[in-house]
């Protein structure tokens, strides 16, 4: 990453927290197998268990809940969803692809509910045969917060055998998160989204979820997930979790301030742009800027060259970005979706950085409009 670039793409990856990097250097990079009997293994084991406790605290888990470390949120989501194999499932239409794709391919009969649904409407889509429902807490593209607690409560009442999964990847570190009060059975979190290293995540499971390993081949994670634990990654996760949780209120405040400031500067300095309001509450760091007449994908490139990191919806392997399924599901038409930029801030921005970012955005939009290309 260019040292001078401003990172307003935190929802893609938060960026390694300085404290995490520091702690990793302190504890060293050498870690042996936590399952080994010898002292080397014991040291590694201690690190893993300490991290486990910290992630549990971050998500507000209770004593009987289990934190299962995985290779990331995608694996955790795959694990949760696979419990609906050969059965029925219900989810929101704006779930992350790591939830939607396995739901569509594990022989699951899935119903995707368009957002702006009421908990009752979601309930209507469920039945006795619904094995798993999946509802993200905060959406990665827009930041919108879904009514997980209310919906979970209804489902629990009517279909007590249905397992409820919540993807809290974007929620963790940006809003209050208490697993034991959400009323869900499984919760996904990701390390690199809260300032740890990519390659580690966790599925938090309540005790009523029957153990069902997805990655099979060892007794690790109390038989939930085979394979030698990624001690370095897990340790980083633990440090990030501790830091983020202990400073949660301040971090949320900082994000709110930065985002409001940025929004204000943008609206005051750039004509004919607007921030989408999807009619939901949002996490405090995410904004979607509509720039009519400008292709967001091109703006992302121009801004990168100018030193500001942002994004514009999903980029896919063929090299050609498709319009965001989330923006479309939330009611934007394809043209507007292609003209929408996602800006996601962190909790450590200086005022000067916010001002510079707004300035760069203004300059690039102005230039692009002069060149006058239409979407």
């Amino acid at each position: 990453m260019s040292k001078e670039a401003i990172n307003f793409d935190r929802n893609a990856s938060y960026g390694l927290l300085v404290e995490v990097a520091g702690e990793l250097h302190r504890s060293g990079l050498q870690h042996l197998n936590p399952s080994s009997i010898h002292s080397g293994g014991q040291e590694a084991r201690a690190l893993v268990e300490e991290a486990r406790e910290r992630v549990g605290i971050l998500v507000g888990a209770s004593g009987s809940d289990r934190v299962v470390f995985t290779s990331g949120a995608t694996e955790a989501n795959n694990m949760a969803v696979s419990l609906a194999r050969e059965g029925k499932a219900v989810c929101s239409a704006i779930e992350h692809p790591s939830v939607l794709e396995p739901l569509r391919s594990f022989g699951i009969d899935v119903l995707e509910i368009a957002p702006l649904f009421s908990p009752e409407a979601f309930l209507d889509a469920c039945s006795e045969e619904t094995k798993v429902v999946s509802l993200m807490l905060a959406n990665n593209e827009t930041g919108v917060i879904l009514s997980v607690k209310e919906t979970a409560s209804l489902i629990r009442k009517h279909y007590p055998n249905t397992l409820i999964h919540c993807d809290a990847v974007q929620a963790a570190g940006k809003m209050e998160l208490v697993f034991s009060e959400l009323g869900v059975d499984m919760l996904t979190v990701s390390s690199h989204k809260i300032g740890g290293l990519a390659g580690t995540g966790a599925l938090v499971v309540s005790e009523r979820v029957p153990t069902k390993a997805f990655i099979v081949g060892g007794p690790q994670e109390t038989r939930w997930r085979g394979g030698t634990e990624n001690v370095l990654g897990v340790a980083a996760f633990g440090v990030a979790a501790k830091l983020v949780h202990s400073q949660l209120v301040n971090r949320i405040q900082s994000m709110e301030t930065s985002t409001e400031k940025f929004e204000q500067l943008v609206l005051n300095s750039i004509s004919e742009v607007s921030f989408h309001d999807f009619g939901y509450q949002k996490i405090p760091n995410t904004l979607n800027l509509h720039v009519p007449g400008v292709v967001a994908d091109d703006l992302v490139v121009a801004l990168d060259l100018a030193g500001l990191y942002v994004s514009s919806g999903a980029a896919c392997a063929s090299g050609k970005p498709d319009p965001s399924h989330v923006l479309l599901a939330l009611g934007l038409n394809e043209k507007v979706a292609r003209e929408t930029l996602r800006v996601s801030l962190g909790a450590e921005h200086e005022q000067s950085e916010i001002e510079l970012a707004a300035k760069l955005l203004s300059e690039q939009i102005t230039n692009m409009r002069k060149v006058r290309r239409s979407a």
């Binding site: 292709v295 994908d297 091109d298 490139v301 121009a302 990168d304 060259l305 100018a306 392997a317 063929s318 090299g319 050609k320 970005p321 300059e363 690039q364 230039n367 692009m368 002069k370 060149v371 290309r373």
Partner: protein
């Protein structure tokens, strides 16, 4: 649109296809101190029409991976940018329509004219970059009167034929870094720099067609229908499977055997879906007309001399033939063969060079014969 009105940096967008020529173009500019921005142009959605493999075509996802690797090893930013709409409109649609008219299209010319040197340039400006570079084997000389487009030093690889549509304004901020090198020198430079594409085979034929043209047309929903192969007297002597499989002047692949003399395609009759064939002499003409003329050299043009001699290149792999050029009132050019005649295919590009066959003067499309 001039770039002075915009506030641009000196950055150069290098169009990277994933092939060795554009890889070395990026490398050379970077070595010369230009801030390079590597861009692959997504012109075709391979998910809907084929797949990953870069074997016969260009700009498939594998090619992007190569371009990305090269950009990373040089140390420059790299982006894949969407040009699908423009490519479909300016290249593909024209390609299909031209065949259906009974003419042979020239998609590479259309791509260069509209997509590479207009659209890409505009996109480069929108990224805040002031110039565009490609891996074309061509050279630009700046003189007092303006910019001159010169053949690349490797006469075997020269690609100026496809660049005849370029404007002075575009030449001003276009760079052709490899034009001064031979192909083998280019490969050597790539190898020395350890670029992954040093030994990559060249993409053959048209970049978006991976089988035959016929297969392509079928794939995109335009069927070709069988029709008659006629001789000059209108007698049917065979059957063809689609006039888009033929070009005027073509000798091979006609599929009519047992004649005394080799047969050539004389004409494509789109209206009656017929291919008319005859002897090579039947193709002989004294002259041909060129329309949609673009003047490149600042020394020539409608306000300059109306009559001059030039070397005319009528196909990609054509040595060139001496012609007398007369400018018509309406902007077209009438070209008459001065020594030998050459086979002329309507719809193909006719490109004029100076008598040294070095500088590109102008170019246009060969009109249908009356």
């Amino acid at each position: 649109m001039s770039e002075e009105a915009l506030d641009l940096q000196e950055k150069v967008v290098v169009a990277m296809s994933g092939g060795v020529d554009s890889s070395v173009a990026a490398l050379l500019l970077h070595q010369q101190g230009y801030p390079v921005v590597g861009v692959s142009m997504q012109v075709w959605d391979y998910r809907n029409h084929g797949g990953q493999s870069s074997k016969a075509t260009c700009c498939a996802p594998d090619d992007f991976t190569d371009a990305r690797k090269v950009a990373a090893s040089i140390g420059v930013p790299y982006y894949v940018v969407d040009f699908e709409k423009s490519f479909r409109r300016e290249v593909i649609d024209k390609f299909v329509a031209t065949y259906q008219r009974g003419e042979t299209p020239n998609p590479c010319v259309d791509c260069n004219n509209q997509v590479k040197f207009r659209e890409l340039r505009e996109r480069a400006f929108s990224f805040g970059c002031s110039s565009v570079a490609t891996g074309h084997f061509a050279q630009i000389e700046e003189r007092d009167d303006g910019f001159h487009l010169i053949r690349g030093v490797d006469s075997n690889k020269d690609q100026t034929y496809f660049l005849y549509g370029i404007q002075q304004e575009e030449l001003k901020n276009t760079l052709f870094p490899v034009g001064g090198y031979t192909k083998s020198q280019v490969r050597e430079l790539a190898e020395q720099a350890g670029l992954t594409t040093a030994n990559k085979p060249e993409s053959q034929d048209i970049c978006f067609v991976s089988g035959s043209v016929k297969e392509f047309l079928v794939k995109i929903g335009k069927k070709s229908s069988t029709g008659a192969i006629l001789d000059r007297n209108g007698q049917q002597i065979g059957e063809h499977d689609g006039i888009s499989n033929f070009t005027v002047g073509q000798r091979r692949g006609i599929g009519v055997g047992g004649t005394e003399i080799p047969l050539y395609v004389l004409e494509l009759d789109a209206k009656n879906n017929a291919v008319i064939v005859g002897a090579r002499e039947d193709l002989e003409r004294e002259s041909f007309t060129v329309s949609e003329v673009n003047w490149v050299s600042p020394e020539y043009g409608p306000s300059k001399t109306k009559s001059f001699k030039a070397m005319a290149q009528l196909r990609h792999r054509h040595q060139g033939v001496l012609v007398q050029v007369e400018l018509l009132e309406d902007g077209r050019m009438e070209c008459s063969f001065l020594e030998d005649w050459s086979i002329v295919s309507p719809g193909q590009a006719a490109v004029l060079y100076d008598l040294d066959n070095r500088e590109l003067l102008a170019g246009g499309r060969i009109q249908r014969f009356n």
